[in-house]
Amino acid sequence: MAGQHRIVVTGIGLTAPNGNSLESFRDALLRGVSGVRHTEIRYMGQQVAGLCDFDEFKYQSKKMRRRGTRAGSISIWCANEAIENAKLDWANIDKSRVGVFLGITEHGNVETENEIFEMHQNNLDWKSWSPHHNPRTVANNPAGEVTLNRGITGPHYTLGAACAGGNVGIIAGAQQLILGEVDVALAGGVSESPQTFGIFAAFAAQGALANHEDPTKASRPLCKTRTGIAISEGGAIYVLERLEDALKRGAHIICELAGWAVNSDASDFVNPNPERQVQCMHLALRRAGMQPSDIDVVNMHATGTGAGDIAESAGVREAFVESSKTYVNFTKGHIGHAMGAAGSLELAGNIPSLVDGWVHPGIGTVELDPDCAIPNLVLHTPVKCNVKTILNNSFGMLGINSALIVKRYES
């Protein structure tokens, strides 16, 4: 896939609605613990959402947190945890050779809504608009805050890829390493979406906003009685390096990126296209030099919407029709839909299976939708398997599809 360069993961930092480290997140996934809860949304009142409870001030001063954004704060937490996890020699590393590449679904809605609300509280006095609005809402904000926090002088930007953002951020980081633009890539995805009213209201207008009196039962992917998406925040950032660099510094190699693909439906603003999803998965497999039967686990995007679940189920069935051994799971029953973070978070939650051999189950599915029946679907309880490869799907609006394959590192 990577030509003369193999790209490896040497660190992971994350925050999810049910865990602030890979260990706690993984434990929650295996035990079936949901992180979805009730929250108050401006104008709308009580809604369900996945909210994170990491310590915002462990790596950031109160002043910088106030000046920045929630997405920036999440990114700073994840980046610092990832750097620590990778045991990078940060004091001596060339910061101009480090890059930050973060996938986002959206950015700027939170701050814009807050400013408009404040302006209304001040009799539409436009001069009450904050001077911080622009640096908070520029699209590179989450990645840029990481560079400010860690003194990184290499490139940084975000990748606007809707809910494929988490995968696309990792892919962009790998591409920058292959191109030789950086020696270390901090790459992944982040989401601050539960802080914005507009996204809740829009999903409600689509009839696609999850609800349940018990918030832990609100996100029900592939379920006949699903009600829609439980919007979540979170983030997962990976330290990526070229294999030779990682070996040279004696890094612990968590896994290797084996192949990836990103394509476009070119068919609808919102509704997915299973034919293009299959093409995307097959392209990733081809680039990885693999057959469908080489994949041990497929992590579905599975948002908990009828259109999305049914289309993806058809796509996964078709893409893996030749494989009788591939297990299929999903993560949004546990954490809701972490939007731009979904791809990188959900992949992270599965990566430990390369070592511990447990495929975490999907939860929240009370009655499986017959249209979503897939062979070897892992529901409710973990399955033991010698996991060597994982294919992670993440799809987004405007028809962006991504599939990312990781494999156990073997020298």
Partner: protein
Amino acid sequence: MNQEQVRQVVLNIISDIAPDEDMTVLKDEVSLREQLDLDSMDFLDIVMELRKRHKVEVPAEDYPKLATMASCVSYLTPKMQ
């Protein structure tokens, strides 16, 4: 508001804008920027909060009058009667 009340107003705003700072050791006659980690954006925030919380407008040409706590109090007290 009297001068002490105006001082407290400014203190409250700066405490919100620079929450990591110890405001108990602030010297009123010394430049705020010499004592606190404040930059130009922070001063814009102070002006903004005065406007939002107390309907006091500080034109750009008067920004230098916010240099110290003492000068803030002198400048703002007549505006907050």
